[in-house]
Amino acid sequence: MLPIDSTKKLSFTRCIRDGDLVIVYERYDNMKAITVCDGSVLENRFGVFKHSDWVGKQFGSKVFSNKGGFVYLLAPTPELWTLVLSHRTQILYIADISFVIMFLEIVPGCLVLESGTGSGSLTTSLARAVAPKGHVYTFDFHEQRAVSAREDFEKTGLSNLVTVGVRDIQGEGFPDELSGMADSVFLDLPQPWLAIPSAGKMLKQDGILCSFSPCIEQVERTSETMRSSFTDIRTFEILLRTYEVREGKLDDFQGDEAGSLGSLPRKRRQRSNEGSNVQESTGPPTVMARPCSEAKGHTGYLTFARLKCLS
């Protein structure tokens, strides 16, 4: 997914090869990650697509099924991956992910700790942010989730950037060997306050911690626990509102209803034309956008804090 090797950097223009991970795009709400395998086929409502037809095509190409149906083949990115990955747990979405990475000041070369791994949605973006030389250590309580996450990172080509551990961070804390090495720590735990002392131990001086919690009581307890050794404690919430775009025109009352208005007394008509200095509207634009009604109303609170520099 990431052009970690600088020789591969212009990855999009190279052609699709056997073994590549591609995002098969049907519609904005219907995508799928597939590893190209010569001899395999993809079957969906548009027909049967032979993987062998895809090899040699550029990423971004339209490819056709036996029935003439088509899909697009896109190069994977962490954002597309978030839309196609299998949900082993509630995942973080792009607004929270983007904000976390910027607020944690994660740049190439950083060492970042995460718990829990969950479905690996944030992990993938963390890996992108620390690439090519940094590293993400991510921990999950569940053996099986960790195994699945490792498989995913193998598939997306991030294994060199991510180490997945099985560990109860709330109970045991992060491993001692990482003490003082982390630039940033991210916690998505039911009782984050239990992990905060350990997170503080892991962080370099001036390093930043973020805790994600859905409920405000968790935030309160977390913030309270942070106060002893962190500063700059700030809590945010971020949502994304999307807009729908349509082409169309509103009924121009004056034009469309001219017949019925023809019966209006002439006097008034004149008044409105002469009396006021109003310019005629040129009519609304043909492309109109408005917010979508349905939206996620809450994901969680993000609480950030910076380790006090006491040395």
């Binding site: 405000i216 509103l250 009924d251 009352f253 019925s260 009396g275 200095n277 609304p284 109303g297 809450h298």
Partner: protein, 449 residues
């Protein structure tokens, strides 16, 4: 209680239902909302059972009912919930988040119930109450004891909703009508959200004795909301542009008495401008009125969905899962008439004095071209509020009004509403939200000079 106009005294609203009364039935704490008109023959389908609504007659609004199994089938029976709270999940168990969210040991395969569907039917035949069935299900669940207290409550509530549903009897007001429609038929009310509607009423200063001009292309919701605020004083004039009036069926769901219904009138825009004074041309006026009436009815029965129309003359008004009985309905419960054509003398008075305020909810019309025409009908210093789904038409309208020096204090605003789950250790904004309440242009007309 058999008299169907207990509201003749305007200012003492009844606290109990009566024959012909329009009610809102809230089933299982908001899971399902049904508007119904009460009569001896009206029924409601709950689960797969038809229950007579007769037991609701004469009961105070706010009463709770439960489905019981009688010899003649299921029936609704009034009951008093315990003071400890009827929603177990909301009681708050004092647990910390710790336990609640810890799923390390969670194993639940949903196959641990030893009672079969047949067993439950047999219990029903033997006259077990819903609560008894719920208790039996819990007793026969192999996993119930292993669940956390929180999960136990969740399980109990789920079963209670299915086997012992609770019906809450409510009086329909603007907010519940608006909320129910937005949930189920948002397009019929132009996506008008209750908070946006409340702002329209405030911004236009709708108050007793006002003459309110509305362009209501939201099914009568706006007209009804204004009439509710007027309480039988002033007038709400529902004006329309082309030959036939816009439907206002939703206004019929309100429990308006005659006094209020009389104050809801309609008039084509052209008539509001006509130079006729007083009682001139009464004949043509009358015949026009008749035409309009029939036209109006035609219009009403076509674009609005079936339930509502059948409901206006039958039992269940709207809803959300419409159920009408096959049995003949006694027609004494017909609601009061509303939306008559505005009499000429009232129109003359409006022409002389101007309307006190203007509210427009016409999401499909271009705002400025409408406002340009309608603006002179308002009195000077009259406030106005215009709702739209798109920002641009309001921006253009505001700009034109500014250039024309026609109004001041103008503002385009957009309300943002958020509901919260408030529970011990589990408080957060609701996960789903209605992210868009539309835009409002508000302002005050000034004297053109």
């Amino acid at each position: 209680m058999s008299e169907n106009k207990p509201q003749s005294d305007l200012f003492e609203s009844p606290r109990s239902t009566w024959e012909g009364c329009s009610v809102l039935l809230d089933i299982n704490d908001g899971d399902r909302l049904v508007f119904a008109r009460l009569s001896a023959g009206a029924t409601l389908k709950i689960g797969n059972k038809n229950c007579s609504l007769q037991p609701l007659l004469g009961c105070p609004f706010g009463s709770f009912f439960r489905v019981e199994n009688g010899t003649q089938g299921p029936y609704l029976s009034r009951y008093t919930p315990s003071t400890e709270g009827n929603n177990v999940l909301e009681k708050g168990d004092g647990q910390s988040t710790d336990e609640l969210r810890d799923n390390r040991a969670l194993v639940d395969n949903n196959k641990a119930q030893s009672l079969t569907g047949e067993d439950i039917n047999e219990m029903r035949r033997l006259g077990a109450t819903g609560d008894e069935i719920v208790e039996a299900l819990i007793a026969n669940s192999a996993t119930f004891e292993k669940k956390t207290v929180f999960s136990q409550e969740k399980y109990r509530l789920k079963k209670q909703k299915k086997y012992a549903p609770i019906v809450l009897l409510r009086r329909p007001f603007t907010r519940s009508i608006c909320e129910a429609y937005l949930k189920k038929y948002p397009t019929r009310i132009g996506f008008l959200r209750m908070d946006t509607l409340s702002l329209l009423l405030s911004m236009a200063n709708v108050s007793a004795n006002s003459d309110v001009l509305v362009v209501d292309m939201v099914g009568g919701l706006l007209t009804g909301a204004v009439a509710e605020r007027l309480g039988g004083t002033g007038y709400v004039c529902n004006t329309y542009i082309s030959g036939s009036p816009y439907p206002m069926d939703i206004a019929r769901i309100f429990n308006f008495g005659d006094e209020i219904c009389k104050r809801i009138v309609r008039s084509p825009l052209t008539d509001l401008f006509s130079v006729q004074n007083g009682l001139q041309k009464p004949v043509s006026q009358e015949s026009d009125s008749c035409n309009m009436e029939s036209q109006s009815n035609d219009r009403i029965s076509s674009p609005v969905s079936m339930e509502e129309v059948s409901l206006a003359s039958e039992n269940v008004i709207s809803d959300l899962i419409p159920e009408s009985t096959g049995s003949p309905v006694i027609k004494m419960s017909k609601p009061a008439k509303l939306g008559e054509k505005a009499p000429q003398e009232i129109i003359s008075s409006w022409k002389e004095h101007g309307f006190s305020c203007l509210i427009i909810a016409a999401p499909e019309l271009d705002t400025w071209s409408l406002v340009k025409e309608i603006f002179p009908l308002m009195s000077n210093s009259a406030p106005f509020a215009i709702y739209h789904q798109y920002l641009q038409p309001l921006a253009t309208c505001m700009h034109s009004l500014q250039l024309g020096k026609m109004a001041i204090g103008m503002q385009i605003s957009e309300p943002w509403l958020r509901e919260y789950q408030v529970l011990p250790s589990r408080t957060h904004p609701c996960m789903q939200m209605n992210a868009f309440g539309g835009y409002i242009l508000s302002g005050t007309k000034i004297s053109p000079n």
